[in-house]
């Protein structure tokens, strides 16, 4: 595997020249996002992911499930993120020995070993400023010298002997709306990608049950391994012994069209005149099915056609930027007040002499609605068994735009 220029070999040493095939593909793809994830070379296969402006490339020699490799690479990136707060070249460079130690603990001879962050943190302590100061004074190390207890129990995701003075269990229900809206404003495709992220700080071995007001919404769900599948199948209750700390409890998808509300609409008129070096741009955003909540943090991003030189626009609220190099227009709108709908209009300057663009750009919309799960999902109650103390409990809801595109 090589991380840009960092490499780690497991089974046998592969010459770094194999990466040339990757660089070649990267060059050919023009856009980094378009580099194909599986590349074959005469003797090896290169499977890569692109995350946070870094490529993680693994070189494999035999038939290995590519998803296995891709999932693993993402897990590596997640771990770096978790350890160093960001997954960037600088962070990796700053922590290269930890990176090496982590990779060594995560994979052995092509077999993943420990990929749960809880267990890894028992084996290798994440760097903190305090610890590195203490280490350098006392000469102690950041490698744990006990057997990771979790790795052997039937609940590999939780270590024994967890202790907190404040016992808390928080759940975030986060829903993202993926949608394609066509020119006329009707919905071509819409679905909700939801997740419930948990932050559990509970002592001992708590056994939790989370139930919903309307569990029937959840018919396509992926579970964290801690969830007892049988209980869900029979009673539609999430029953589990949680890992310690932050983790994703479930992710789910709601796709039936009538359940997916579209909270905003966009009125748009983008036109380019034939044989003229200018065009008009006019968009207005308004609330649609917003369930009476405020829509905030709206951003509109538009990839303008190549022939666009510049844009002279006036927003009624917020601010906009246009990058003449990447041709990306970004309008930071803020929130919608129904009394005065935000709009952005003005002139588009085109390269003179160039033919008028064939395609109209798509609008990418970002927004956020607090205290609402747009699918209507609601947590009913959380019960805890197996421990005596009374934990603090809380549930937060938020809805965001995922890949929300309006065609013009």
């Amino acid at each position: 595997m090589s991380l840009g220029e960092y490499e780690k070999h497991w089974k046998s040493v592969v010459s770094q020249s194999v990466c040339d095939y990757f660089f070649e593909a990267q060059e050919k793809a023009a856009d980094v996002e378009n580099v194909p994830p599986v590349i074959s070379t005469p003797h090896h296969y290169l499977i890569s992911i692109y995350r946070d402006k870094l490529f993680f490339v693994s070189v494999i020699q035999t038939e290995v499930p590519p998803l296995f490799v891709i999932e693993f690479l993402h897990r590596v990136a997640d771990t770096f993120q978790d350890y160093f707060g960001e997954c960037s070249e600088a962070a990796i460079k700053d922590n290269v020995v930890i990176v090496y130690e982590l990779l060594e603990e995560m994979l052995d001879n092509g077999f993943p070993l420990a990929t749960e962050s809880n267990i890894l943190k028992e084996l290798i302590k994440p760097p903190t400023i305090l610890r590195s100061v203490v280490n350098s004074i006392t000469g102690s190390s950041n490698v744990g010298d006990t057997l990771p207890t979790g790795q052997l129990s039937n609940i590999p995701w939780r270590r024994a002997g967890v202790k907190y003075t404040n016992n808390e269990a928080y759940f975030d229900v986060v829903e993202e709306i993926d949608a394609i809206i066509d020119k006329s404003g009707s919905t071509v495709f819409a679905e909700i990608q939801g997740v419930i992220d948990a932050c559990i700080k509970l002592s001992g071995m708590p056994d939790l049950s989370l139930s919903f007001m309307n569990p029937r919404l959840l018919d396509d769900v992926s579970f964290h391994p801690c969830i007892r599948f049988k209980r869900w199948e029979s009673e539609r209750v999430l029953s589990f012994i949680p890992p310690d700390g932050n983790f994703r409890l479930i992710s789910y998808r709601v796709s039936s069209q009538n359940l997916v509300a579209i909270p905003v609409y966009v009125k748009h008129s983008i036109s380019f005149k034939e044989n003229s070096s200018c065009g008009r741009f006019d968009i207005t955003i308004g609330p649609k099915q917003n369930m009476g909540k405020t829509i905030e943090a709206i951003t509109v991003t538009v990839h303008m056609p190549k022939v666009v030189l510049n844009m002279n626009l006036t927003p009624t609220q917020g601010s906009y930027t246009f990058d003449p190099v990447t041709k990306v227009l970004t309008w930071d709108v803020g929130k919608i007040t129904p009394q005065k709908l935000p709009s952005l209009k003005g002139l588009v300057n085109l390269q003179s002499g160039a033919p008028k663009p064939e395609e109209n750009p798509s609008l990418n919309i970002q927004f956020k609605i607090q205290q609402l799960a747009i699918s209507g999902l609601k947590v009913n109650r959380l019960d805890m068994y197996g421990e005596k103390y009374k934990p603090f409990k809380g549930v937060k809801y938020v809805t965001k735009a995922g890949k929300f595109q309006v065609r013009t």
Binding site: V13, E63, V97, V99, F111, L152, N154, H224, S255
Partner: protein
């Protein structure tokens, strides 16, 4: 204080400094030094010179330092094997450490040091660790066996580690089970024949239990291992499926896809009538769709697999079209895959939506994507007839955009639409002709030329248009040249008066000035055709074209079935069997779907034809064919002097005969293979449209003239049952006509006269085409041979068995009845060769229940001999492929009543048993077709 400081010491003498630090007395300094060494190592600097110094740091009770040294050792032991020996003792000692973490670490690291001398020392500690009381050590040791096997397989076998590993499958700890499975699977990969993982219901049960409790990665290993198991019946298959389905809800997409593989494979064994089958189908869709909301790299792999799944079981995702709609910021590799699947899922129900989307895509920026979208519109038109009109008008709109590559793609697909729906959309030709000048890609040029030639009678200036292409004839690509040749010949046959000069010109360009054998051969064949028999030429060149198939780029059924077994692997991404690309000649086990149990009876070979049947009397009626063919081939060598070559009468005969015999191969060449109809899958074997192979086809075409296999005459009506008349006979098929060859013997004492014959109604409408003519009265002891021509125009009634025929013969004495069985191959018609694309689509279209499998035993022929022998009985090899050293022949035949039978014949070199799979919409004929195969191949 970060590790980046380790990178700063790049000045000279660095190694020297590090050496000093490594040998420092201060623990902390040592550790820092090792860290610096490791950091240098990661960025590819050579720090191997420090080997002894680093190894000296190994004996420490500081776990971090130990780990770091281990890291270093793994990297450099190979280049410093003698030094590495120094480390052995510490390893052995560490394997006995009271701390299981250290024991595991030691055994793990030792396995990574690929030095023979060290591996010897590894055996004893490894044996102990495999039986360690701590499961963490056991699971680490299991992986170590796989590592060791990779270094020295013999050693592992000799030491009995494989058996210990097998025992670990029954370990109480699920992680140990999972790692044992993973290690065994990896070892088995290099030993395809060994029964390392011979699973039985008990071990399967162990695996299924471990599946619920082990880590996600362990689940993948176990699921992949389960997928190699073949349940003994459908009940076992169902119970495994039931226990695997919860994995579909796993957050790890690799677990999900491995579970999908197990289910797709075992579903094959479940009857479609089962309620559970339906339930399972429904359960498969949501997890597959969910994969599409993951990261783009995961989406890509998922889409490649979904492509296979929808080909195998379109019903799984037929309602999920919308999730494949393309988002503008999807990476291009995701976009292209989504488009492919959209086409596969397009149906009358959703075509409007699909078209609207495709039209949207056709205006995007990315050229490759736009091209594919335009092509997709054409494919929609061909697939869903109701949408054809809308597709054509959409394509016309796109042509109006005048975007060059859009126009060219549109013309290529419109050509296919013309093929599929003749005489429907030709009104758009004028619009197409306007864009003639802008076409610069060979495929588009060829398509346009095809259109002009095909519709020459409707295009007033067709000759001018074609002539304009002719100017730069030699600069065109072969594709365009061939097409231009054919188009001008078509034009000539349609408007002979005005275009004589043009055709002369193109023929001489093709035959005299070209180095391309395909082009030259085709030129000669046309030339000869036109000069000898213009009527025949018309029949050949302007023949009705076979339908083009609805689906393109379909994967061959056997390959598809094999790929289904490889869901989730690289094979599924490349849509090729692993044997096609896996490195190093490691034997790869050929995987296949389990047979459906419901039909298991029919897979048993039915009783084979009686062995030792008398040798057939092959009729060699046209012995001179070979010479004639030689003449034709020779002609290529001597270019004609001027004008159409004057053919000698013998050659002329040859040409005509060839047309009679190998008509299809001739038609195959000029008029419908050459137009670049939707890409022929490259793996389908022989290059089509190559003039040379067409000529070789003729060789076998000649065989048809000699007629199909004729069984020796058998006694049908013994004399004692018919008052002295003995009838024996057989059936023949020659040059398309069937006859019943009869031998009548008078064993009575009186003269027999007034013969007549009648058939009872039968399955294929066989009836005498002429009265039974016995010219002279048949005197006692006299024998007469008669050939009675038969037609298949009689009335039809299904008989039991299907091929029985009841015959009544009358003479002056009485009426006698007898019944006989006719071999089915007399009903195989000479135009039973299916187009490859049509074959693929038809094979897929016929439901699996209609498939019957037979064994043909003790047949010593090789694939070529089989193919040519079958062809002489009108069983045509449509394609041939070599899989894992086995020859797969895909064959088609057509019965006189229009029933097509598709066959797949699997021949393993050295094995005289062939496997014959037959698919037919009327499955009752399969048994008889199989018998026909037996008869033809064994005589």
């Amino acid at each position: 204080m970060t590790d980046s400081k380790y990178f700063t010491t790049t000045k000279k003498g660095e190694i020297f400094e590090l050496k000093a630090e490594l040998n420092s007395d201060k623990k902390e300094k040592k550790k820092e030094a090792v860290k610096k060494v490791i950091a240098s190592m990661t960025v590819g600097k050579d720090v191997s010179a420090l080997f002894p110094d680093v190894v000296n740091c190994m004996q420490t009770d500081n776990l971090e330092l130990k780990k770091l040294v281990y890291l270093y050792l793994m990297n450099y032991a190979k280049s410093q094997p003698d030094m590495a020996i120094m480390a052995v003792n510490t390893f052995v000692k560490d394997c006995e450490d009271p701390n299981p973490l250290i024991r595991a670490l030691a055994v793990r690291t030792m396995g990574c040091i690929r030095v023979d001398k060290i591996t010897e020392y590894l055996c004893e500690p490894l044996r102990k660790c495999l039986k360690d009381e701590d499961p963490y050590v056991r699971k680490t040791a299991a992986v170590c066996v796989a590592k060791l096997h990779d270094i020295n397989a013999q050693l592992v076998e000799d030491q009995g580690f494989l058996d210990t590993l097998k025992d670990l499958i029954s370990d109480s700890n699920p992680m140990v089970v999972a790692n044992a499975v993973a290690a065994l699977s990896e070892i088995a990969e290099s030993h395809p024949s060994s029964n390392l993982l011979d699973l039985n219901p008990q071990s399967i049960n162990k695996l299924l239990t471990a599946l619920n409790e082990c880590t996600e990665w362990g689940q993948i290993f176990i699921l992949d291992c389960l997928a190699n198991y073949t349940p003994k019946d459908d009940r076992e298959a169902q119970s495994i499926c039931e226990r695997v389905t919860p994995r579909l809800s796993h957050a790890n997409s690799a677990v999900v896809l491995s579970a999908v593989k197990v289910l797709m494979k075992f579903m094959e064994m479940l009857s479609k009538d089962l309620d559970y089958y339906g339930t399972l189908l429904k359960k498969l869709a949501p997890p597959l769709v969910t994969l599409l909301s993951a990261e783009p790299e995961l989406q890509y792999v998922a889409l490649r697999n979904i492509n296979l799944i929808v080909q195998k079981r379109p019903e799984v995702l037929k309602h999920e079209m919308k999730v494949f709609f393309v988002k503008y910021n999807d990476p291009i590799y995701v976009k292209l895959e989504k488009l492919d699947i959209m086409i596969r899922l397009a149906s009358q129900a959703n075509i409007a939506q699909v078209l609207a989307e495709l039209k949207e895509y056709a205006t995007e920026v990315d050229v490759d994507f736009v091209r594919k979208a335009v092509r997709a519109i054409g494919r929609c038109a061909i697939k869903v007839e109701q949408s054809a009109e809308r597709c054509v008008s959409t394509l016309l709109d796109l042509i109006q955009t005048k975007v060059n590559y859009v126009v060219q793609e549109a013309i290529v697909v419109i050509k296919d639409i013309f093929r599929k729906y003749p005489n429907k959309y030709e009104s758009v030709i004028a619009t197409l002709c306007e864009n003639l000048d802008s076409l610069d890609e060979p495929e588009a040029r060829a398509a346009m030329i095809w259109i002009v030639g095909e519709y020459a009678e409707r295009i007033d200036n067709a000759d001018e248009l074609l002539e304009s292409f002719l100017e730069g004839f030699h600069d065109e690509s072969t594709q365009v040249q061939l097409q231009l040749l054919t188009a001008i010949v078509k034009l000539f046959l349609k408007k002979p008066t005005e275009t004589q000069e043009l055709v002369q010109q193109v023929l001489s360009l093709a035959t005299q000035d070209s180095d391309n054998p395909d082009l030259r051969d085709r030129g000669y064949i046309y030339w000869r055709l036109l000069s000898t028999d213009p009527v025949a030429a018309k029949e050949v060149v302007l023949a009705e074209k076979p339908l083009i198939s609805e689906e393109t780029d379909l994967i061959e059924p056997t390959l598809l079935d094999e790929l289904i077994c490889y869901i989730g692997t690289l094979a599924s991404v490349y849509h090729k069997p692993p044997s096609a690309f896996v490195e190093g000649g490691r034997g790869v086990v050929h995987k296949s779907l389990p047979p459906r149990t419901a039909s298991s009876e029919s897979t048993e070979s039915p009783e084979t034809a009686p062995a030792g049947a008398p040798p057939g009397e092959q009729l060699d009626t046209v012995p001179t064919q070979g010479d004639l063919l030689g003449d034709l081939l020779n002609l290529d060598l001597g270019p004609p002097v001027s004008g159409p070559p004057l053919a000698t009468s013998a050659v002329q005969m040859g040409a005509v005969d060839l047309l009679g015999g190998g008509l299809d191969s001739l038609i195959g060449a000029p008029s419908f293979v050459a137009p670049p109809a939707a890409a022929v899958p490259a793996n389908l074997g022989a290059p089509m449209g190559s003039g040379l192979s067409d000529l070789f086809d003729l060789t076998s075409g000649v065989g048809t003239l000699s007629g199909s296999y004729v069984a020796p005459k058998a006694v049908w009506l013994p004399a004692m049952k018919a008052k002295g008349l003995e009838i024996s006979g057989t059936f023949t098929r020659q040059a398309g006509s069937i006859s019943m060859d009869l031998q009548l013997t008078n064993k009575a004492l009186q003269v027999m006269t007034d013969f007549a014959i009648q058939f009872n109604r039968n399955s294929f409408g066989l009836a005498p085409a002429a009265p039974l003519q016995v010219h002279a009265p048949l005197s006692p002891t006299q024998t007469v041979e008669i050939s009675l021509p038969l037609s298949t125009a009689g009335s039809v009634m299904k008989t039991e068995p299907l091929n029985s025929l009841q015959v009544a013969v009358k003479n002056n004495i009485d009426v006698f009845y007898f019944s006989t069985l006719y071999p089915l191959h007399i009903l195989f018609v000479e135009d039973g060769k299916m187009d490859r694309q049509v074959f693929l689509a038809t094979w897929k279209d016929i439901p699996n229940e209609n498939e019957a499998q037979f064994q043909i035993r003790d047949c010593p022929l090789n694939a070529e001999a089989v193919s040519s022998r079958l062809q002489s009985s009108s069983i045509f090899t449509v394609a041939r492929r070599n899989v894992e050293g086995q020859d797969m022949l895909y064959q088609s035949l057509k019965l006189t009543n229009g029933i097509w039978v598709l066959a797949e014949l699997r021949i393993q070199p050295g094995n005289p048993s062939f496997t014959l799979s037959l698919k037919c919409r009327a499955p009752e004929v399969s048994q008889h077709v199989y018998q026909a195969y037996e008869t033809i191949l064994k005589n």
